[in-house]
Amino acid sequence: MKTVATPATPHPVRRFWYRWRFHLNILLILIPLGFMPRYFQDVALFRGESGLGQREAGTVDVGPWQLTLAEMRTLPPAEAGEAGFFKQFNAALCEGCSEEVKATYLRIGKPRSLRAAGALFFGSPYRMSTNLPVPTNTKDDALVWVTMEGWDGTVHQGSIPLADASPSTLAWLQNQGDAQ
């Protein structure tokens, strides 16, 4: 008679766990190492040292002024609950016009009045930003309208196709259409 029972062969999953459980640490440590370059890219992006945003969309003529527009990130709009979807744009005013411009607005589709001019830019004239509401039923050929109000009371408008302003938003809208 045997005094020592032969141990039953452990389940493969159990064996796998026993063999590799401490290697979980290595996997976890690899995460921040892998994201480190991305972290420094983001720091440069937020400090405005890698450009106005991740992708510069171009310059829009608005009456006597110009506005350089950029996507903060080349990502589709982000959801903000019931308020809908928003896309962050950054912008810089033309050199020498920061004293003359009172306010800058961004909107998909042409605004009917100054009161509905859209999202108001916030920040310094060298780099300001706003969150543009993007309705899910926006057409592919929509224009993004820039409205600028001068301290002298004048109002000027200019536009850029959404396809140029944010290709990622357009692609997202097209996917939404396909899904419906």
């Binding site: 995460i31 405005g48 903000a80 916030f122 310094s124």
Partner: protein, 395 residues
């Protein structure tokens, strides 16, 4: 189930809570510990953020005076915000925007208004916070999954505390008769250390794990668009309240000290420490600082045109729930009562990191000795088996 086997289970649970991810937990604890004093570490390393007094009788500038000095030195830059740190040995910090689009932080001497330096590319404080808080996983849409990964640790940490107190019989006796045996081998030393630092850290582990779990809950609420805030959208200045300009340039504005004075007149308990200057023609300038309660800020929004107070958010405007939830972050970081509180948090953070390490050492030593014992037993049994005849074994 017998009492003994029940406590054995508790013990097993306690030993296994952090074990497979011990290194991850250790790094999170160590980076958190460093983060509590990261500002002080930067102070030691970088003279730009210190606040040297030019002469023994030099007086502090008001925020408005400092702003004026900065603007005069660099007329092209736009100041976005200006902050006076809680501790007087730190320089003022001004978030600014340059014509090239970059927006670094400037360190400004609080006595002279001289710009002492620009925040370096590698911000140690920000980096330790990012590593500790979200494991460097970027935020793109809502909270980063790294945030979930780290804040999830609050739960096993809380469980470690509870199970630790269950398996440590009559732990309160440890307060009266502390025991740290130095000369009886590493296993005994680390065991004593783990228990002793554990009971003295009960409050700290509870604070860190509960606030950590709150961070998890906060992310869950945010990502599901559930708000518990009683704070409305900060108002803008009405169109007709912005004065018309005679020329094509902006109308005159109050200087910063006048705006701060308006804010303090409205809310006398406000200790103005931070100002966020208007970000466009319709936005208020916000003055922020603490009141009687050290864990939360009060905010007053003032119109830069006429000093009209357009927004007030005081301690008493918060709901009871917000008092609790808004206190969570300062309680976690220890940044609410100056250097001494930070140092206490640092010390207990170090102790907590050591507890992770000592827990691991105890476990490995116990397991090593248990394994060795088991092996010895088996070998002996095998030898016995080969040497004895079956008949003898039966007998």
């Amino acid at each position: 189930m017998s009492k003994k086997s029940r406590s054995k289970i508790w013990f097993m649970v306690h030993s296994w809570l952090a074990l497979p991810i011990w290194f991850f937990v250790l790094i999170v604890c160590v980076t958190g510990t460093l983060a509590t004093v990261s500002q002080e570490i930067v102070w030691l390393a970088n003279p730009d953020i210190r606040a040297p007094k030019p002469s023994p009788d030099a007086e502090l500038l008001t925020l408005g005076q400092a702003l004026e000095k900065v603007q005069r030195a660099e007329p092209d830059l736009k100041v976005l915000s200006l902050m006076r740190p809680d501790e007087s040995h730190f320089a003022l910090s001004a978030r600014v925007s340059y014509p090239d689009g970059s927006s670094p932080t400037l360190y400004v001497n609080p006595y002279t208004g001289v710009i002492q330096g620009v925040s370096p590319q590698f911000d140690f404080r920000q980096f330790t916070r990012a590593l500790h808080g979200w494991w460097l996983v970027p935020f793109t849409n809502g909270f980063s999954w790294g945030w979930y990964l780290v804040s999830l640790l609050g739960l096993p940490m809380l469980a470690s505390l509870v199970t630790g107190l269950v398996v440590y019989k009559k732990f309160w006796k440890g307060f009266l008769t502390p025991r740290l045996r130095l000369r009886q081998g590493a296993r005994v030393f680390w065991g004593d250390f783990h228990r002793l630092s554990g009971i003295w850290s009960i409050w700290f582990i509870a604070v860190i794990s509960i606030t950590g779990t709150w961070f998890l809950l906060q992310a869950v609420l945010f990502d599901n668009h559930i708000s518990i805030s009683t704070e409305g959208v900060p108002p803008v200045i009405a169109r007709d309240a912005v004065p018309r300009s005679e020329s094509a340039t902006p109308p005159p504005q109050l200087n910063l000290d006048q705006m701060i004075a308006e804010a303090v007149e409205r809310v006398p308990s406000l200790d103005p420490k931070r100002v966020f200057l208007s970000g466009n023609a319709y936005s208020l300038t916000f003055v922020e600082g603490r009141g009687w309660y050290p864990l939360m800020d009060q905010t007053v929004g003032v119109s830069p045109y006429d000093g009209d107070v357009g927004y007030v958010r005081l301690l008493e405007d918060r709901s009871k729930l917000e008092f609790v939830t808004e206190s969570m972050r300062p309680l976690h970081t220890g940044d609410f009562g100056g250097l001494w509180v930070k140092l206490i948090w640092f010390f207990f953070g170090l102790l907590l990191s050591m507890m992770v390490l000592s827990g691991l050492l105890i476990w490995s030593k116990r397991t090593v000795s248990a394994t060795a014992k088991a092996l010895r037993k088996e070998r002996r049994a095998n030898r016995y088996e080969t040497e004895q005849t079956p008949a003898e074994t039966v007998a």
